[in-house]
Symmetry: C2
Subunit: 492 residues, 2 copies
């Protein structure tokens, strides 16, 4: 007969109807008692026989639970004496009531994070970027995308995948897609590149982040367009760089002003084909000035060519990268505008001597992009669907922009100036009077109009007020009514 | 009649058989002459009529090319005088011969990048991670994955996608997948979490990177397991953090030694369920000590739970996060081992008060993960396929590990020690004598054996030599032959 032990029986709450196996419930109960301090180091626990009797169970689940507790070191056996809570466990303070930081009615006080994590404010989405529909910036015509065709390509790659497509793919991405992008860029964008200079990234946002990590240190200054793209500024801020806003005029970034304001900038971040948000095309003179500055100062040019595929009244503007004689340009592109943003695919054209640096950081960041969509996209380009889709969309967006411009002219007359409608998927309207564009944008959100306030694109004091209106996702027949609603919001 | 102009005719090389339209060829030629300095600012160019005559073309392509050159600002017209290279262009030095940095026989000299980009060496893949097959670490049994089923789910989500799945998805990822992961983690891993604490990331590598960006500054020290996972060290190094290697013994990370060696560490990066590479399970005592240290020092614990689904002789070990009473643990998981690495999906369980910080940095990094696989995976989990696949793989990997252990015992006898075969998809073998494991691994690569040298997992002087052998991708019937080949390499 087993000798009586001094073990107290802890409360083991069993739920025989629960999905969790009984042995797991027993194990969990003991572990909780131990870690919460109600069973203390060195304290004896009941024998498996005694516990099984008490719980009116067979001994099997109890034995299973005990062997797990022993294996994980919560308990130990002493020969002839029984089972005890391990003496090597540090003593736990008993927990009373609710635990800190969890499920409390009052939000927990945020603890301090790294200084570098405080360069950005905690995340709060911009309300006017929160929806889909009229004027949404960056929304392509989803309804016109050839999903039937796309789904076929996806299915083909998915049913019988090659083993290499399932494994880690490396920081540069899939060679088939790199080659397809390379020939596209050479032909359509006058980019000078070889396939091995192309890195596939998870969207142009990652391209901006990676480029900044490789080329700029915290504390370095960078020219940004004023006004300019929100998320370029987020990247630079997140990485501790100083923004040096340089005004944009009718010829694009004013290089002479940039040099006057901040000649020591390590890089210039620009959108020369279709400036975001004002839509200017950078003039040839400014391009050559900028290249000249980069060469003389040993600085870098980051060319974000985000929507240059769509140009309505002339040929697409050749890339700045193609003019560069000193390999000072990092060229960035994306499929978010030509296909859809949920794809999360973009690319960087990297100067030869920087390839190893970009790859090292990229590898540490995320080991590379997922494979499936890379393979599908390579086929989509290679089989001519990409070029066809762009041609169709150029016509469609041309109709949409003409309808929007027409509606704006009719409703507002000379009350607004329309900027940058020659290309891309958005235009800007500016007002001569000082409207509070942010307030109007917030009111518009409640009406499901997604107009971004122009002032939100400025790093310093805005010298223009108005809105950025996307037309890619706004069908021509809806333009007039949407413009009417925008006007009534302005008058409210 | 047009008056004779002083324009010299530049060399315009036309290829009538080329795919590039003639107007584009003319435009390109002029642009090149201008940017390369052979046509100078203010110099007159031929009239469209004269050039068309000279080139034996209709005037239409010439007119198109000229209008583009005018639109982009390369040229300007003076009324009554003709067309000129814009006087506003900065003068370009003529280019002679090849251009610097491109297509040269001699590799260009690398230019300096940011200091922070130099914390890592330029990328060079580890040879023993370069292939697939026997012993490859991190290779699951691809041939056993239910691709037929998977492809069906993919096809369903691809043919009629919801518009929200095509647009930008936000930094936390898709709610459906977050909920599915949350209930999986609560049930199977004893993680305490709500769905809104879960962020979908592009693999556990990105989770490590993001966590480090939020919690550690450059110069901060972090405990890493010695030996430990290569890529954790890469992330910390890439972000300027100091590695504080802490020895791993039979109970896991030696917390007391950690405190002795570097008490001011801001974080501990650990793999408590199945230590990489030695395979130890961290004991209960060490877990509680570590939590106690984190609480007292205000430091963080980064729990990388990369392969805990596979445990062969006992129940899976509950997560360390589930024991944490102070929200000091960041819990990281991945689908690279349970599904396949090409998926690039993982997750972080983030303490409530840090959510806004993680999201801000993630948003600046890449705006979130692609949607399709998130939706597919949520179905795969929700419909029970995930649990079924893990159960099947646990049996299969159990056979594979038994075959490998058996073969090692037969071939090497007591010549090696086998570590960490109780769980996961790899084990470690160590040798009593001092072998040069890196040299053997390099020889093995030539034989298509992918054994990682144990010494490569040490940050400091290795105290063990041997190999990390993956068995997930090594069928049981091949184990004996592969072990025999490894042995002959050792004897060579």
């Amino acid at each position: 007969m087993q000798k009586a032990s001094s073990a107290l029986l802890p409360v083991i709450a069993l739920d025989r109807k629960a999905l969790l196996p009984l042995h797991k419930q027993i194990y969990d109960s003991f572990r909780k008692h131990i870690t919460h301090g109600s069973l203390r180091a060195g304290q004896q626990i009941p024998s498996t026989r005694a516990l099984a009797l008490e719980l009116k169970l067979s001994r099997i689940p109890v034995l299973t639970a005990y062997s797990q507790l022993l294996a994980e070191g919560y308990c130990e056996t002493r020969i002839g004496a029984g089972t005890f809570v391990s003496r090597s466990l540090p003593q736990q303070e008993p927990v009373h009531g609710r635990q800190p930081g969890r499920n409390q009615a009052v939000a927990p006080k945020p603890r301090s994070v790294a200084r570098r994590a405080q360069w950005l404010e905690p995340y709060r989405p911009q309300p006017w970027l929160g929806g889909l529909g009229a004027f949404c910036v960056g929304q392509p015509a989803y309804e016109e995308f050839p999903f039937h065709l796309w789904a076929k390509l996806v299915a083909r790659h998915c049913r019988h995948p090659h083993i290499n497509s399932l494994h880690y793919g490396g920081p540069f991405g899939w060679d088939g897609l790199r080659a397809a992008i390379c020939s596209y860029l050479r032909t359509s964008r006058a980019v000078r590149c070889d396939p091995h200079q192309i890195m596939i990234v998870s969207g142009s946002q990652q391209a901006l982040e990676l480029t900044t990590r490789v080329l700029l240190d915290a504390g370095d200054a960078a020219w940004v367009e004023e006004p300019g793209y929100w998320l370029t500024k987020q990247v630079l801020t997140a990485l501790g760089c100083k923004l040096a806003p340089v005004p944009v005029d009718g010829e694009g970034l004013d290089v002479a002003q940039g040099i006057r304001r901040c000649s020591k900038a390590r890089a210039a971040y620009i959108t020369p084909s279709h400036q975001f948000p004002l839509g200017v095309t950078m003039s040839a003179a400014r391009r050559l000035q900028l290249l000249d500055w980069a060469e003389r100062s040993g600085s870098w040019i980051v060319e974000d060519d985000y929507d240059s595929e769509y140009r309505y009244d002339s040929m697409p503007i050749a890339s700045l990268q193609g003019l560069d004689r000193c390999d000072r340009v990092i060229y960035i592109g994306t499929f978010s505008k030509t296909l859809f943003p949920g794809l999360r695919l973009g690319y960087i054209v990297i100067p030869e001597d920087l390839l190893g640096r970009f790859a090292a950081i990229r590898n540490a960041m995320d080991l590379g992009s997922p494979h499936l969509y890379q393979a599908v996209l390579a086929d989509f380009i290679g089989q001519g669907h990409f070029a066809r889709h762009i041609r169709r969309m150029r016509q469609l967006y041309n109709q949409r922009r003409l309808a929007l411009v027409d509606s704006l002219r009719k409703r507002f007359g000379r009350g607004v100036e329309i900027l940058g409608a020659e290309a891309g998927m958005h235009l800007a309207v500016t007002y001569p009077m000082r409207i509070r564009d942010t307030e109007v944008s917030l009111r518009a959100v409640r009406e499901k109009l997604w107009v971004a306030p122009l002032s939100s694109a400025y790093a310093e004091r805005p010298d223009k007020r108005g809105f950025i209106l996307g037309f890619g996702g706004t069908p021509a027949v809806q333009a007039s009514e949407a413009v009417a609603r925008l006007k009534s919001l302005l008058n409210a």
